[in-house]
């Protein structure tokens, strides 16, 4: 009844991407992808800039050694610069690749390998902009990733993962609640499918095979066949009488003698003899 479990990451990633796209379509936020990472660069959105600053602060605090903190800060700086260079469409592609990175990670492949999931080709997005591909992020799978690109990928993943790990408990609680709901929904759905399958099977079975299985079923079968036959006969009889009625009406109209008034009417006489209406 279920799909293999190794399909789950890919499936979920696609669903998530489509849901995000659907959200954009619904809300018609055209500029969202353009402003997606703008907070990283120019800080035009105060709220987002705050969040990024907090993210940086967390990074620095979490780092045990000062040079580690510096390294992380540098990585985030590179990340910002690289992302700022990207056209909107490629920023979208980058985010989608981040999703793919999560998928690959969930399947046991980690970013930083040659087949870096952050930088593998992404079918569907970025098509048509191949000629504009001028940044580190946009090359195809076969080309080996440069250290800078690897760094960027790792910075991206680590930044997002760190902030994901440091989510407030209100969010994580709601996420867990959603998961429960989704799984309950899955069970309902599954049993609905099973029920539908069973009842269809039963209905077909009672019509074609089980009916002939026992004497009672045979009688039921005969009774329904009888009713069907009677209904058919009644409909046939009704159609026949209707035809007969129509036929008798027609013949009456055709054979009926002309009314006396018609013969008295002068116009009718003229019409009769001239062959043209008066």
């Amino acid at each position: 009844m279920t799909r293999p479990a190794d399909e789950l990451p890919t499936l979920f990633q696609r669903i998530l991407q489509n849901t995000i796209r659907d959200f954009y379509r619904r809300t018609k936020v055209r500029s969202t992808w353009t402003t997606l990472f703008s907070a990283l660069g120019d800080g035009e959105d105060e709220d987002d800039q705050d969040k990024i600053d907090r993210l940086r602060a967390t990074d620095a605090e979490k780092a045990k050694r000062p040079e580690e903190a510096l390294e992380q800060r540098q990585m985030l700086d590179i990340l910002e610069n690289e992302l700022a260079k990207l056209p909107a469409r490629q920023r979208e592609a980058f985010l989608m690749r981040y999703c793919e990175g999560l998928t690959a990670e969930a399947m046991g492949r980690l970013p930083g390998q040659r087949q870096n999931p952050l930088f593998t080709s992404h079918t569907g997005s970025g098509s048509g902009s191949e000629s504009k591909r001028n940044t580190a992020i946009t090359h195809e799978t076969d080309r080996p990733t440069s250290p800078q690109e690897d760094l960027l990928a790792k910075a991206m993943v680590s930044a997002l993962d760190q902030s994901a790990g440091a989510l407030p408990s209100s969010i994580t609680a709601r996420l867990a609640q959603m998961r429960e709901q989704a799984l309950a929904h899955q069970k309902q759905w599954q049993s609905a499918i099973q029920l539908a399958g069973q009842s269809t099977h039963r209905a077909m079975g009672s019509l074609f095979s089980d009916s002939f299985g026992s004497a009672t079923d045979w009688r039921r079968w005969a009774a329904s066949a009888g009713i069907l036959l009677l209904t058919g006969a009644f409909m046939f009889w009704q159609a026949q009488t209707q035809i007969e009625d129509l036929a008798s009406e027609n013949s009456a109209l055709l054979s009926e003698a002309l009314p006396p008034n018609a013969l008295i009417d002068k116009g009718f006489k003229i019409w009769l003899f001239s062959g043209t209406p008066a």
Partner: protein, 53 residues
């Protein structure tokens, strides 16, 4: 064959990062949560589908 535990464990594993991804996409907590919830429900539905054929 997958057991009901598998989607549970899988979602528990990815839900935070899925939220983060959605948040980066929409820059809004409620919308991001909505997107994750929608995605989870859709996953549950399509995961319950009988395999074709």
């Amino acid at each position: 064959m997958a057991t009901p535990r598998e989607p549970d464990a899988f979602l528990a594993d990815v839900e935070r990062r899925a939220y983060k991804t959605a948040w980066f996409a929409v820059h809004n907590e409620e919308n991001a949560l909505d997107i994750v919830q929608d995605s989870m429900l859709k996953l549950a539905e399509s995961y319950s589908d009988p395999p074709s054929g």
